[in-house]
Amino acid sequence: MPDAAIDACCLIDLLASGHVEAILRAAGFDWHLPSAVQGEVQHVRQYDTARPGQFLKVAVDLSPLIASGVLQACGPNDQTEQDRFVHYAAQFRSDGEAMCIALAEQRKWSLATDDRKAIRVAQQAGLTVVSCPVLVKRWADAAKPDQATLCKVLQDIQVLAQFKPNPTRPEYQWWVDELAKAIP
């Protein structure tokens, strides 16, 4: 299987779906989680069942995903990787994005990101970029969840992660169409 690094934005979006493991497994990648990204994924939002319309901030525990091998921890090892990390760190206020791009570039991995600037910089570096909507669609195509489940996944990503796909991306129309099916 090809390899891919995942950044904090994309991982937060997938965690909001409630099906992160299944989506990552269905994507067709061996996933790598750079150490700087781990530090940036601290909390996710959940619905507060006691207070409708309100949210709870819940600590993220990535250790089950790492223990099961779905995510493999990684970091810059050799001099070139460290140089490239520092090179990109000068461009991003987040070390996670810089480390993701440096490792993906040096190890010929793809990059899963929903960060607007990271997408631009990674594409300039010649990387293959995938985003949350691409990954969710792959999962939906493979697992064929019922309509209600799929709509809930998309809605949860929109509400809990405050993420909506960019209208210029090809998956945008699929996302909108699937959500529209939820409206009677």
Partner: protein
């Protein structure tokens, strides 16, 4: 794009040195951690030797910072942190570690603000008042009263309460007002002036909004009376205060509660009700958005109520918050964000234009990625518009669209 081998050794050295001092580490400690000699480490700080990338990556967590904080290519603001740190070191009995953390907070926020302005080509317009020189023959508090009236006039504020004080000072005067929860509770705020950024004020976020308003104006008073002298202000000061502190304190209270307006209100109440009761005091403090103590002391100072009125209320265990609830006083709008409103707009605009991404936005807005996206969505959406049907509508604002005639 800067390559590691094209990092500016001088800027990198300055940033490493500032991070070390903010963390309270000695050069020996860092040299030992890196496994190099002290002279070698000093050469890195001076910019005579470029730190290797593995050293930078190792140093960042040791100094409690990110790699980006050390290698960002922009010039550090050099005349803010060291000066305030020197003031902090002289302050005995204060939690120095917390104070240093707050100074580091201010430094980082101020640099981020400057970087956003450069990114968006939107320098802050300064509209500072003229400086005032204190004279031992003139009472500093009385002088401040007059300066506050002039300053209100200059800003077109009349003598009515200024509810949106922070944004007024930020937008109309060009002050950079930040909030920090790192400041020890005994500290009200701090003030510094740099050639690059102008006036930077840090206010204690832990204090109630009424107190924060006094603190930001107190620091504003320092801009007027001792512009180039950085300072850190206690909440209360024992003993006789120096003239500049008396000026700043009186300026703040006079600005918030102009004598002409307070007298007029007081007389209106007494004329209408033939009395001035505790409830009126509470109403008045709410009207001017100040604490009951500040209001009572101002009325005492203006000779409208007897001296000692506040002390009497304090001894009687008067509870302003409960009194406000009993009187049905509605909470007034407050700004709790660590950065100025304009800073937020610049960050969201930069995000909208694609200059920064979601992770960067979260950094600039000092929150997580989800909250940053939410803030961006809220900032870019106006929900107060009324459509043709009379219903409220949500409108997405396109910041980049020109409204000038003939523009595309």
């Amino acid at each position: 794009m800067p390559q590691p081998d094209t990092l500016d050794p001088r800027i990198l050295g300055q940033r490493i040195a500032e991070a070390r001092k903010a963390r309270g580490k000695t050069q020996e400690e860092v040299a030992e951690f890196l496994g190099c000699s002290r002279p070698t480490y000093i050469a890195i700080e001076k910019g005579d030797r470029l730190a290797k990338t593995d050293e930078i990556i190792k140093l960042a967590p040791f100094l409690g910072t990110k790699v980006n904080d050390l290698v960002r290519p922009t010039e550090p603001v050099v005349d803010l942190q060291p000066h305030l740190r020197a003031v902090a070191e002289k302050m005995k009995g204060t939690d120095e570690a917390a104070l240093q953390a707050a100074i580091a907070d201010l430094q980082e926020l101020a640099e981020d603000y400057r970087d956003l302005e450069r990114m968006m080509s939107a320098p802050l317009r300064f509209n500072y008042p003229p400086e005032v020189t204190l004279d031992s023959r003139i009472d500093a508090a009385q002088l401040a009263e007059g300066v506050a009236v002039q300053e209100r006039r200059r800003l077109g504020l009349g003598d009515q309460p200024v509810i949106y004080l922070r944004s007024t000072l930020e937008w109309d005067v060009g002050l950079r007002i930040f909030y920090s929860s790192e400041l020890p509770s005994a500290i009200a705020g701090m003030y510094a002036y740099t050639a690059d950024l102008g006036c930077c004020i840090l206010v204690n976020r832990k204090h109630p909004p009424e107190r924060r308003r006094v603190s930001m104006l107190h620091e504003y008073g320092h801009l007027i009376v001792d512009r180039y002298k950085p300072g850190i202000d206690y909440l209360t000061m024992s003993g006789r205060k120096p003239a500049n502190e008396r000026f700043a304190e009186s300026f703040a209270l006079s600005f918030l509660m102009p004598a002409s307006s307070v007298r007029q209100r007081f007389h209106d109440i007494v004329t209408m009700t033939k009395d001035f009761q505790v409830r009126d005091l509470r109403h008045l403090s709410h009207f001017y958005f100040v604490s009951v103590e500040a209001m009572a002391r101002r009325l005492e100072e203006l000779g409208l109520i007897p001296k000692g009125s506040w002390e009497y209320l304090k001894e009687a265990k008067f509870a302003p918050k409960q009194a406000g609830e009993l009187l049905g006083l509605q909470p007034l709008p407050t700004s709790d964000e660590p950065y100025p409103e304009r800073y937020k707009y610049l960050a969201v605009h930069a995000y909208e234009r694609g200059e920064i991404g979601d992770s960067d936005l979260a950094h600039y807005l000092r929150c997580d990625i989800v909250e940053a996206r939410e803030i961006a969505g809220r900032t870019l959406t106006s929900s107060g518009e009324v459509g043709d049907t009379g219903e409220k509508e949500q409108m997405r604002l396109d910041f980049n669209r020109s409204l000038l005639s003939g523009a595309n």
